[in-house]
Amino acid sequence: MTSAIECRGVWKIFESGSSRTIALQDLTLAVAEGEFVTLVGASGCGKSTLLRTLAGLEPHSAGEIEAGGAPVAGPGADRAMVFQNYSLYPWLTVIQNIKFTRELAAHTRDRTSADVEAASGRADALLRVMGLAAVAGAYPNQLSGGMQQRVAIARALMSRPRILLMDEPFGALDAQTREVMHDLILHVSELEHCTVVFVTHDVEEAIYLGRRVVLMAPRPGRIDSLYDVPLPARRTQDMKHTPAFLELRARILGKIRETSGLKTDLELLQKLSRRASDAELPSAFNH
């Protein structure tokens, strides 16, 4: 299997004034062609930074990133990205949003009439696959959050990207809508044969969607551990209750808690509250 994405010794350092923050430390990761990889981790672990770096929206400070064998030097049409929200164009209808790439020179340089026809056929197919046929002429602000994200995914897929990067795309949706979207994105990524890198803070989502889960840890942002998901390739909702799923979930959650530094915060809280109740309060009352 060839790699769709290769990161070798990638560093990302944010510098502001005299302070330096290491967002990504010596990160090495290979994502296979057609693989669905999810990135989880406590906040500040650099999972979104890594995704934005893969997209070419943020330059990396050191190391090499290759996508489809070519080094990443900026955003490109081979790597489409789906954002959490506010990325649709509210002045365009659903179908116009999906066809937005057709407005760009990168996709229309050698356009023939056959291409135009194929593109419009593809837009219609995406509308149907994503369940958007009935709202093709609506504006995004007339749609629910879940429907808006369907449009965002369809738009990203329009130009047949090799790689789909998703930055907490369902983070703003309610639990039921999210489940529907999970099955939809699994179905579509299989249909489109594209490689998916999916960032989330929801461990259940990460396991359900991912063939492989990458756990990242904060301060400095780095890869902590990798997990192969021991579930059949075709996922169904009832798998969420299997022992294999629950066991992996418990392991990953424990590891996130361990790496997040939340434990020390808890200890500190306990120490503070003990001091307040044991020492200060009685003395205050004695006076």
Binding site: A55, G56, L57, P75, G76, A77, R79, A80, M81, F83, Q84, N85, Y86, S87, L88, Y89, P90, W91, F100, T101, E103, L104, A105, A106, H107, V129, M130, G131, L132, A133, A134, V135, A138, Y139, P140, N141, Q142, L143, S144, G145, M147, Q148, R150, A152, R155, A156, S159, L165, Q176, E179, V180, D183, L184, L186, H187
Partner: protein, 310 residues
């Protein structure tokens, strides 16, 4: 176009309405029950919402009733005060005196000519501002380097009083039409640049980055994302600055004018024609209101997606 006024006010804060009209996608969940078709509704209690509910709702009728009351009250008070006769007409002419003055102005004093020249000056000064401010605002809002170069300077100049530029304008431009237009330009331009830069800066980063990941070039992002995304806010800025341009009219017509509404007000002051001062001020207000409504209409026609609701 019903309810457009309400949506205009609430479009910033409202969340998109839920839609459940779509046929199920391949792996969709259970379809929403269609059980509401033959449902017998209970007797609906019509509770009238309190007028003081926080950000409460109000029917169109109630809204307009209150708006008319708000407009009528000062008018009635004015009527009453003038009728009582305790205040001399030199200080406070009655509404009828003012109406009579407008009639006289129209018939014998070339009111239409005054309106025409004032509208021309305001629109010319404002349009000149817009023509230069729009590309500058776009550049400041898009490129940090241009922002650093121009924004502090603009911020500095906009605090300078436009009125104080009159002697300079007379010295540099003279006392022709150009001078009057220049005063209105100075009064509106710098604010306009800053507001437009802010409008452009408010374009969500996700909209820009989405285009970049679809392979858009820098120019394409500006042309196909930033400009269309900022357009509604830019039109609002044009509407608001048009209002400011009108407030500078009287000042502009201090410069050796012999026509125009502002000039008429200044001249009336010299002859203690208080009713004409009132007439001039009210006319300017009404013309401004008409322009404002015109801009709002254009806004609704040009940006249907802002007013579209499912």
């Amino acid at each position: 176009m019903t309810g457009s006024r309400v949506t205009l006010l609430s479009r910033q804060t409202s969340t998109p309405a839920e839609t459940a009209v779509v046929p199920a996608a391949p792996p969709a969940g259970p379809a929403p029950a269609a059980a509401t078709a033959h449902l017998e509704l209970p007797a609906v209690r019509r509770k009238i919402p309190s007028m003081w509910a926080l950000r409460g709702w109000m029917s169109q009728r109630q809204y307009w009733l209150l708006a008319l009351t708000g407009l009528a009250l000062p008018l009635i008070a004015w009527f009453a005060l003038a009728r009582l006769g305790t205040v001399s007409k030199v200080f406070l002419p009655g509404p009828l005196d003012v109406v009579r003055r407008v009639g006289y102005w129209f018939n014998n004093d070339d009111l239409t000519g005054d309106i025409r020249i004032s509208v021309y000056r305001v629109v010319a000064g404002w349009a000149l501002s817009a023509l230069i401010a729009m590309p500058l605002g776009l550049l400041i809002g898009t490129y940090r380097a241009v922002q650093a170069l121009l924004e502090p300077l603009t911020d500095f100049v906009r605090y300078m009083p436009a009125v104080a530029f009159i002697p300079l304008v007379m010295l540099w431009i003279g006392i022709d039409e150009g001078a009057k237009i220049a005063i209105i330009f100075i009064g509106t331009f710098f604010q306009m640049v800053l507001m437009m830069a802010e409008d452009v800066r408010r374009v969500p980063m996700a909209q820009i980055e989405a285009a970049q990941t679809m392979g858009a070039t820098r120019l394409e992002v500006i042309e196909k994302v930033i400009i269309p995304s900022a357009k509604p806010a830019l039109l609002d800025t044009l509407r608001i600055t048009m209002g400011w341009a009108w407030t500078y009219l009287v000042v502009a017509e201090l410069v050796a004018a012999n026509s125009g509404l502002g000039y008429a007000i200044i001249k009336a002051q010299r002859f203690l024609q208080t009713d004409k001062i009132f007439a001039g001020i009210i006319l300017i207000g009404l013309i401004g209101l008409a322009f404002d409504q015109f801009f709002r209409l254009i806004h609704r026609l040009a940006f249907p997606w802002l007013y579209a609701r499912s």
